[in-house]
Structures are given as structure tokens and as C-alpha cells.
Symmetry: C2
Subunit: 393 residues, 2 copies
């Protein structure tokens, strides 16, 4: 008699973006000529950098002849990519991360989701609120207790150290959905807390490339001691436009440990390696070559141009809304703008923007209790449409 | 205080192929001029079909311009691919599988590994022995009890219905590692047992394209009632050479259920969809276009040529060894040959073949207790090297 994982029954039935899509398509059915501007889902619109395109054509050709064909690659990613990551994403910023601490994968969502496998179900999990739903749902699937740490205008979107015992904390900065950041000093408080309490920080740095301000850390490992208590997730999705190309990586430092039933610290790098070698067979060779090309001279320039384009859009949204008297957060070190709704109900304001202004946003309430009363706007549309959307409001 | 998943501590520390690689490289260090022929790991050697190469070049170009660029795709795969699978892999064989029962992913190893997420940890798991280690390790990671069902020369490699209560059964036919198959009648016994006992069958059909004999089912859904009790895994790895390109799919029929704590049957399709939407962001667009090309006229011919090439190698191994008086199984509907060692110890015979004949096989003992005394040989080398290996023995 086969049994389901009953924790699935405690998940909320509908996923945020499904509901958004449903309301948009229902509106479009009734108003087929509506000129909708989408600023809801965090998907990019600019094509892949030319350097990546060239690298993929070359890699595809390699796969077409026996002499250069590649079969199974290392589950953790090819050294050609891991070494580039080590040099350009870490050493260049003064952080020492070795190639064997880098795990290349098919996406940050996969890694953020699958990391739960190596942790015990007795861990109490803290997430900031509003929150990227994946952190919550993946832990509910594992039957774990979840503690919410509010981030709101009152605490200036800086989550406070939990006042109860927690074991694992998810931090995402620059934050999705609020677009806000922690300064080096603010993040240091978290690292110190984690070290003192043997708490594990799961640090989602998917948006680090959007950081423009000086005192904002790009990696948690810029903070002393973080290698002992933090796993970091990175992504090429929003930087090089890899949302449909699928490549990212996760850092599990050799010093990073968590406790076993034997009362001893266990190396999480070894556990994650074992998990990946057992349940994953590596990222496509062709895609890893595309990711490698991001680190070439041209690749770096092309990615920088993409980021500038989206940040310019974020600036248009932020300043446009501010000048119209709205209360807004984010948009400086992030492609996300967190807009305070004039009235408390974020689904009502979502509906208003959709039906009256033909603009699709994402209701903050979908990201957790503290998201109520806010909307998330994204800077991934064209500059023209972004400008038009702001003009409409 | 963060805790690890302590089930990892009960895993055997070394993975089979790591130990094989270690012994080979240790031998090569001492004998750098040795002309090693690798027939161990199940990786392919022929390049990708031309149809896939052309499709990928086209898709890469689409990703280079805004108008045709693709961002996030559906987590379950694009309809263009799911519909081809439905028509060519199922309807063409008289089996009705709808597009929404097909989940495209980055590999059968991922799906076989991740499927454990939707099942309760109270399930007792049965695996055939010898066994693909992933079935065992992923369930040990979840703390589940495992029952081994021996497959050996005595029972003609047909596993017997368990004599104790089990909830989930993994069946892989054509089998890895033995290369043996079940006839339609033999598989029907399993489906009937599953239906009568509400057992879930996880059917790994990764090698179905190698089937040459008439009375061997390509899909478990050829058996009446299987849609109510079976999930099927397919792969492009060995057929179209996608081991480094990464694409596969899993079938979860709408009728397929397992029991919840509420005592009611729950739809596993909905659970798997939720799991994939939460922890996975789809297979790269470019790779899905390559997979689609497999179903074109040229693609089908090219894949058929690849399969023929490997089956011819399998035939050389099988008949060569038989003619030298060895006891061998498999190799007719499979790229794998299961060779009985002249003496009982399979690691000893592995070492003998490595050091005396410079042939790398995989010791059967690494696949489970009933694998002791056997070696797995694979047909994925070139015909020339395969012939040479057999001449050397």
C-alpha cells in the first residue's frame, strides 16, 4: 500500500504566479485589445549575450563529432567553469573560494529546493517575510517548522535576529521581492549570530550583480567567519538572461558544518556532493560553455550592459513612482521595486492596476503576511514599456 | 543549531564508479603505456544525431534576438516536445498518454532521485538485486526500509513477487545492470500484484529503445491497469547520446494514486507537478529543441542507426564470450552484458581483466549482493575496440 508524502497536503493549493496568470488571462478574454504591460513575473526579456551565443554554437559543433563529443560530465560541473567562478566571482572580490567548493547546476531554484535533502527534518527554519515561496514550500514538503521574520517599513526592511530558537535561516539579498539590501555591518550581525548559535545561513545571492552601492556585500563570504556557517546560491538567470538556458551554482565551503546525531559537526560540502552525485547528472556541456563565456572580456562587457539596461528601468520605475508621491523601496541595487499600495489590500491594488492601467504587477500578499499592502514591480520589460507604464500610473 | 539529515551517515561511503576509476587510474599510473579498453561505465561514445545538432544551432540563434528569445519555460516542458512524446513514444505503440501526464526534465537520474519527495517515509521499498544504486541511496537518504528481490541465474533473472509487505517497487527493464528483460506475461504478473495490493511500481524504461524481441513490452502501460499503479521513467541518454546533453521525461498518469493519511487515494500527477514547479525550473529551451528533433524523420533514422551500432557491439560481446565458454546474460535487448565470473569474487575478476587484459568492466558486487560473481560489460565503445577486447579475453 503506497503512501504519499502527506506534508504536501499542508501546502497552499495555488502558486502565486498561477493566480496572477489566471487573473490576467481572464481580463484579456473580456478585453482582448487591452495593451497589457507585464511587470509581474521576474523573467528577463533581453536576448543572451553574443559571447554566450558564440560559445554555444562552438559547443554544439563539438557534440557533432566523435573526437570532441562529451558524454557524462562531472556532477559538480566542469573545472573550466568552476575555475572561472573561483577567479572572477570570488578571488577578484577578495574572497577565497576553491573550485571544489563550487557546485554548478541547472538553476538556483533547483539548488535552493534540493538543499533541504541534506538537512534534518528536526531543524526549525526561519525565513524573512515577505519571502520567495520556494524557501517555505520546500520545507513544508519536508514537514519542518517555519518561523517568519518580518521585513517592513518599520524596521527599514532589515530582518531582526529571531527571538526564539531557530536552526537554519534563509537570507536573500538583494532581496526578492522587496529589492532591499543589507549593508556589510547589517549582514555581519547575522553571521556573528549564526556563528554563536551554530545556525546555518542559506544565503541567496541571485541578484548580486545588480548591486550598485559600495557598502553592500556581493557575497556573504566577504564577512569574516561566514564560510563556517553559510551556503551561498548564485544564478546566471537575471544577469546573463539564463532564465530559459538554466545554469547557476552553489557554494558550500569546506569549513561549513552542521551537527549529526553523534553530536559531531559534519562537513556539508561532502553531504551536498553526495546528494548531487546521487540525484543529479550535471548541467549540459553546451550550457556550461555558455556560462564560461560570461567571464570572457566581451562576455563581461555584454552582461554589464544588460544589467545597466535593467537598472535604468528600475530607476525609471523608482523615481517615477516617488515623484508621483508613492512610497517605494528597492530598485537601487535590484531589478525589483517594492511599492506600497495606497490602501492595504495588495490583491485589490493588483486588480486596479490590471483593469484600470493594464499593468501586471505581483501582489505582495503572495510573498507572505508582511507582503500585504505592497506590490512587486520588475524592471525586466523594455525601457519604452517601462516608461509607458509609469506614465499610465 | 543546524542538524544534518542523519540518514546520510548510513550510506556506504564510496560510490561504485569512483572505486572503479580509482583502481583504473592507479593501474595507469604504474603502467602509463597500457592500452585500456573501457567497457565499464554506461556512457555513450557516438556523437549527437545530426538532426539534434541542427535543431540546437537554430535554437541558439533564436536565443540571440529579442523577438525569439525564450525565458522561463513551463516547468513540465514545452508542449512541442510533450506532444511529440505522446504521439511517437506512446500512441504509435498503442498506448494513450496525454501531454499533461508527461514531465520533461534534465535526466532520468534526477527524476528517479527526486520522485522520493512525493512519497511518505513510511513506505517499504523493494528493489531488484543487483540494482542501479540510485534507487537504494535515494531511499536510504529518506530513511526508508529497503527489501532486496534477488535476480540470478537460478530464477532466470525474473524477480519474484515479495513474500513480505512492500509499498513501492522499482523495476528496471531492460535491466541495468543485467541486460535482461521481462516478457509481457512476466510484467503482467507485477502489474496485477501492484493493483491487488495498492503497490506503486516505479518503472525505469531508460533502455527501452534497445528492445529487439517481440514479446518484450516497451512501456509498462502496454499492460492493462498499469496506469493506476505505475510511474514510468524514460531517457534520451543512451538512445540519442544525451548523457552530456541532459534530457529525459517521466510519465505520471492521471489515474495513478497513493494513499494519504486521510485514508483516501491522492493523485500522484498533481503531487509531482507541485514538486517540479517548486524545485525545478524546466529543461533548457535549446536542449528541448534537440530532443524534439529526435522525432523528425531524419532524427528517427539517425537514432535507429546509433542503437543498431551499439546492439551490434553487444552482439559481438555476447557471442564472443559465449563461444569462449563463458556464461553470459543480456546483450539482446540491451547494451549491457552480464558476465558470470569464472570464480565467485567479482572485484578479483575485475582486477584480473584490468591488469592482465587491460579491459575495464564494472564489478557486479557493486550493484548489490546478488551481483557478486558477475561483471557488467557495456556496448558503448567503438566496434573496433569492442572486437579487440573480446579477442583479448
Amino acid at each position: 500500500m503506497a503512501y504519499i508524502n502527506d506534508n504536501f497536503s499542508t501546502l497552499k493549493p495555488s502558486y502565486l504566479f498561477t493566480e496572477v496568470a489566471k487573473r490576467v488571462s481572464s481580463y484579456l478574454e473580456k478585453n482582448p485589445s487591452a495593451n497589457i504591460i507585464r511587470m509581474g513575473i521576474g523573467d528577463v526579456t533581453l536576448p543572451l549575450p553574443k559571447a554566450c551565443i558564440e560559445a554555444m554554437h562552438k559547443a554544439v559543433d563539438e557534440m557533432s563529432v566523435r573526437e570532441t563529443f562529451r558524454g557524462y560530465g562531472p556532477e559538480q560541473g566542469y573545472d573550466f567553469l568552476r575555475e572561472k567562478i573561483s577567479v572572477f566571482d570570488y578571488k577578484a572580490h577578495g574572497v577565497d573560494i576553491a573550485a571544489d567548493e563550487i557546485f554548478v547546476s541547472d538553476g538556483a531554484k533547483s539548488d535552493v529546493g534540493n538543499i533541504v535533502d541534506i538537512l534534518g527534518d528536526n531543524n526549525v527554519i526561519a525565513v524573512t517575510d515577505p519571502v520567495y515561496p520556494v524557501y517555505v514550500d520546500t520545507n513544508i514538503m519536508a514537514g519542518r517548522k517555519i518561523v517568519y521574520l518580518p521585513m517592513n517599513a518599520e524596521n527599514n526592511f532589515v530582518p531582526q535576529i529571531p527571538d526564539c530558537k531557530v536552526d537554519v535561516v534563509y537570507l536573500c539579498f538583494p532581496n526578492n521581492p522587496t529589492g532591499t539590501v543589507l549593508t556589510t555591518e547589517q549582514l555581519k550581525i547575522w553571521v556573528d549570530y549564526a556563528l554563536q548559535n551554530n545556525v546555518l545561513i542559506l544565503f541567496d545571492a541571485a541578484y548580486e550583480a545588480f548591486i550598485t552601492e559600495k557598502n553592500v556585500p556581493h557575497s556573504i563570504y566577504e564577512i569574516d567567519g561566514a564560510k563556517q556557517c553559510a551556503i551561498e546560491f548564485r544564478s546566471y538567470s537575471k544577469t546573463a538572461g539564463f532564465t530559459g538556458t538554466r545554469c547557476s551554482y552553489t557554494i558550500v565551503p569546506q569549513e561549513c558544518t552542521a551537527l549529526g546525531n553523534d553530536g559531531k559537526p559534519h562537513n556539508l560540502n561532502a553531504l551536498w556532493k553526495r546528494r548531487q552525485c546521487t540525484k543529479f547528472n550535471g548541467t549540459p556541456y553546451i550550457i556550461q560553455r555558455a556560462a564560461e563565456a560570461i567571464y570572457s572580456q566581451e562576455g563581461k562587457q555584454q552582461v554589464s550592459d544588460i544589467i545597466c539596461y535593467y537598472l535604468q528601468n528600475a530607476n525609471i520605475i523608482r523615481n517615477g513612482l516617488l515623484s508621483k508621491g508613492f512610497e517605494v523601496y528597492g530598485g537601487i541595487n535590484s531589478p525589483y521595486i517594492w511599492l506600497k499600495c495606497p490602501e492595504k489590500d495588495s490583491w485589490a491594488f493588483f486588480d486596479y492596476l490590471l483593469t484600470e492601467k493594464n499593468i501586471v504587477a505581483t501582489p505582495g500578499a503572495g510573498f507572505g503576511p508582511s507582503g500585504e499592502g505592497f506590490l512587486r514591480l520588475t524592471a525586466f520589460n523594455t525601457t519604452e514599456k517601462t516608461q509607458e507604464a509609469i506614465n499610465r500610473i
